[in-house]
Symmetry: C2
Subunit: 415 residues, 2 copies
C-alpha cells in the first residue's frame, strides 16, 4: 500500500441530522491524529465551499469544542443541495474542484450525505482518476430517510426513529386525556421511503402508538383510509394515525398534491416537491366526515434535529463511520462508501463494510413489502425487530444551566 | 387541630403537562402513607369521575408502577374541561358531589389544574361548608401556561419552557445549515399570557434562539412585524421568529382570527378559541412578501407532553406541591392552593406557600411589561433571570430498550 501524504477535505451535504456532526467528528478527529494527513479542512457548505474556496482549518479548533460535535445536531460546517452536472456535459465544476485540490494539496476527500452526496463523490472520484490526479474519495452515509442502498441502516435514521417513537408515545398519552372523541394525525418525513413513519410502529409495539400507519411504499386509498379511521374511532373513541408526507395514490400522485390540485407545489433544486401539510389536511377532512375533534401534528424539523433525544447507538455508529472512512482511505482505499452490516440473531452487532459508490448512488432502499401488514396500514414484527436495536441507548448531550451545550466552532478560513 | 379521618379523592383537570402526574404521585403517595386518610381514590377524568361515580382505588396499584408517574407525561387519571355551574343558579352537580363524598366517606379533595380547576375547588369547598359537610379542599397548581396568580411559577411550566428553549436551539442550528435565505416562524402555545413563547428567549440568551419574539401581552402590529423580519433577514439572510398562538392586535382581535376573517373559529366549552395555524400563516405571508424560503413550525402537543426532556426542578417541585397539599390538609388546612415562593438572590430557592383559592381562581398572571423589550419583539434579562433556574436539571425517565418506560396503571374502579 502506497502512503499518500496530503491534506484532506471533509464536507457535509444534504439535509442535516442529529448525528451528522458525530460522523464529521469521527472523520476530523481521526484525520487530525493521522501521520499521513498533513492538514484537515472542513468545506463550508459542502461542495459549494470547495468551489468557492471557503475551507475551514480544523486544526484551529479547540479539541474539547470539537468533541462536542458528537452531540450537536445539524451540519456544523454547513450543508448544501448543490448537484454537480454530468461531467461529460459540463465539467466546469470538476475542473474547479481539481484546481482547489491542487491548491491545498488535497489527497483525501470525505463527503458525508445521502444518495445525492454519494453521486457527487462518485463523479469527483472518476474525474480525478481520469485526469491522473491521485486522490482518495470516501463517502460517509447520512440520511434520516434511511433509504441508502446496500447498508443495513444509515447514520441519522436511528436518532430520528427514537425521537419519532418517543414523541408518538407521549402524544398517545396526551391524546387520551379527555374522555371525548379525538383523532390525531401525525405527519412524518419521508418522500418515497417510509422508514421514518414506520418508526412510530415501535411505539405501537409498546402499546402506546398509532393505530394506523401509512407509508409511501403502499398506494394510498383515501376512501379506505377514511373507513380505517372511522372503524377504530367508533370502537375506541380515539384514533392516532401516522402518515408519511410522501403518501401517494395508485398512480403515484402525491396526496398533498391531489388535495392542492391546481396549486403550485414548490420544488427544490433536485426537483423534489417541497411537501408539508398532508397531516393537517387529512385531520381537517376527518373532522368534516366524522364530526369529531381532530388534530394534525407535523413533526417538522424536530425529527431531524432533536439531538437531546439521540440514540447512543446512532451516535457511536456515526462516529465509527467517519473514523472508518479516514482509516480506510489512509490505508489505500478509494471510491467506497462506509456501510453497516448488522446481525440481530444473538443480540445486535454492527460492523462497517465498504460499498461501491456507483452501487450506492441514486438507488433508493424502501421498506420490504413483507414488513408491512397485508392491509397496508401498519408494520409487521419484522420491522420492529429491525428497528429496536437501532434506538438503543440515550446519548444525552452535556447540559449547562438546563440546556444542551452544543459545539460552537471558530471556523477559521484557510488561506 | 382536629384529626379528620376519612377517604380522599385526587383529580386532574385541564390540559395535561409533562409533570401533572408527578404532582398526582406526590399527593397519592403521601395519602397512601397517611394514618389519617383511610382510602385513596383517583377520580376518572377529574370532577366528571366524581359526578359519574367512577373512582379508581389507588391502593390497588403496584407501588413501583405508581412511582413511574413521576416521569410519565399527560394525566394518568384522565382529565376534563367540565365547568361547574354557579351553585346559586344550579346546584345539581354540587348535590351529586356531596352524595358521592358521603357514599365514600370522602373528607379530602385534591384537585390538580389551572385557573378553572381552582375555581372548581373553591366552589366545592364553599358548598360543602354551607351544607355542613366537613371536607378539606386543596388545589394543586398545574399549567404549562404559567398564568396562575400568586405563585412564582406553576408546575408544568418549567418543563414546557425547557422543551421550548431546547427545541428552539436545535431548530436554530438546523435552520442555518444552508447558505440560502430562510425565515422560520415558531408557533408556541399561550392564549393570553406569553410565558411559553418567552421561554424561547432563553435559547436566544445562549446565542442560539429566535431573533424576534411576539407575545399576547403586546398588541401585534402586522406591518411592524413584517418590517422587523425584513430588517433581520436582509442583514443576516436568516431570521427566526417565535410567536404566541394568542397574538392579537391593538383591539384585542386575535391575529389568527383576523387572517381567517369570516371563517368560524372553533371554541371549547369554556369559550376559548381553538387556536392554531398562525405560525404557518405568517410564514406563508412572509414568503410572498420577501420571496424567500420560509417554514412555519408548530410546537403543538409536544411542548406539553415531552416528558423525555422534563426539568428535574419541575419534577421535584411538582411532586412537592402534591405532597404538601396532602400534608397541609391532614393538618387541618382547607380552601387553599399550594403555591411557590422563590428567591433568586443567592442561588435559587423554592418554598411552598398557601394561597386563598378565591384569590387564585380566574385571575390570569401575565408577563410584566418591563420584562419585555421596548419594541415589544423580545425579552429583557429580567425574564431570563426568572426562567433559567426553573429549567435546571434533567429528569430523564427510565428507559427500556431505547424508549421511556411510562407508567401503566391498572385503574381498578372502586365499588
Amino acid at each position: 500500500m502506497k502512503v499518500l501524504k496530503g491534506a484532506c477535505i471533509i464536507g457535509q451535504s444534504g439535509g442535516p441530522s442529529s448525528v451528522i456532526n458525530a460522523s464529521a467528528y469521527g472523520a476530523i478527529r481521526t484525520a487530525l491524529d493521522s501521520d499521513v494527513i498533513t492538514k484537515v479542512y472542513g468545506a463550508a457548505h459542502g461542495i459549494k465551499g470547495v468551489l468557492d474556496d471557503v475551507l475551514y482549518d480544523m486544526s484551529a479548533e479547540d479539541a474539547e469544542e470539537l468533541a462536542l460535535l458528537k452531540n450537536t445536531p445539524s451540519s456544523a460546517l454547513g450543508s448544501c443541495r448543490y448537484k454537480l452536472k454530468d461531467p461529460d456535459v459540463d465539467d466546469t465544476d470538476y475542473k474547479r474542484i481539481l484546481e482547489i485540490f491542487k491548491k491545498y494539496d488535497v489527497r483525501y476527500f470525505f463527503y458525508n450525505g445521502g444518495n445525492d452526496s454519494m453521486d457527487t463523490c462518485n463523479k469527483i472520484s472518476k474525474f480525478m482518476l481520469k485526469n491522473g490526479y491521485e486522490c482518495r474519495v470516501m463517502g460517509i452515509p447520512k440520511t434520516i430517510d434511511n433509504d441508502l442502498f446496500g447498508t443495513d441502516h444509515c447514520p441519522g435514521y436511528s436518532s430520528a426513529a427514537k425521537y419519532i417513537a418517543t414523541t408518538a408515545m407521549e402524544i398517545y398519552l396526551d391524546a387520551r386525556v379527555y374522555d371525548t372523541g379525538m383523532v390525531t394525525v401525525l405527519e412524518i418525513m419521508g418522500r418515497h421511503a417510509g422508514w421514518l413513519t414506520a418508526a412510530s410502529a415501535i411505539a405501537t409495539h409498546y402499546g402506546m402508538g398509532p393505530d394506523l400507519i401509512y407509508l409511501p411504499e403502499v398506494p394510498f386509498d383515501l376512501e379506505k383510509f377514511y373507513a380505517d379511521v372511522e372503524r377504530i374511532y367508533k370502537a375506541n373513541g380515539k384514533c392516532i394515525v401516522a402518515v408519511s408526507e410522501g403518501i401517494a395514490d395508485a398512480d403515484g400522485k402525491l396526496m398533498v398534491e391531489k388535495f392542492a390540485e391546481g396549486a403550485n407545489v414548490a420544488r427544490d433544486s433536485f426537483g423534489h416537491a417541497q411537501l408539508g401539510g398532508i397531516g393537517v389536511t387529512l385531520a381537517n377532512n376527518i373532522k368534516e366526515r366524522l364530526g369529531c375533534k381532530t388534530r394534525g401534528i407535523e413533526f417538522s424539523l424536530m425529527q431531524r434535529c432533536a439531538a437531546h433525544s439521540a440514540s447512543a447507538t446512532d451516535v457511536e455508529e456515526s462516529f465509527l463511520a467517519g473514523k472508518t472512512a479516514v482509516e480506510c482511505a489512509v490505508n489505500g482505499i478509494t471510491d467506497k462508501m462506509v456501510g453497516f452490516k448488522c446481525n440481530r440473531e444473538n443480540g445486535y452487532t454492527c460492523e462497517t463494510e465498504l460499498l461501491d459508490l456507483s452501487e450506492v448512488a441514486n438507488t433508493e432502499k424502501k421498506i420490504p413489502r413483507e414488513w408491512i401488514n397485508e392491509e397496508g396500514n401498519g408494520l409487521n414484527k419484522e420491522f420492529v425487530d429491525y428497528a429496536l436495536p437501532l434506538i438503543a441507548g440515550e446519548a444525552h448531550p452535556p447540559y449547562v444551566n438546563g440546556l444542551p451545550r452544543f459545539a460552537k466552532l471558530k471556523k477559521v478560513v484557510a488561506k
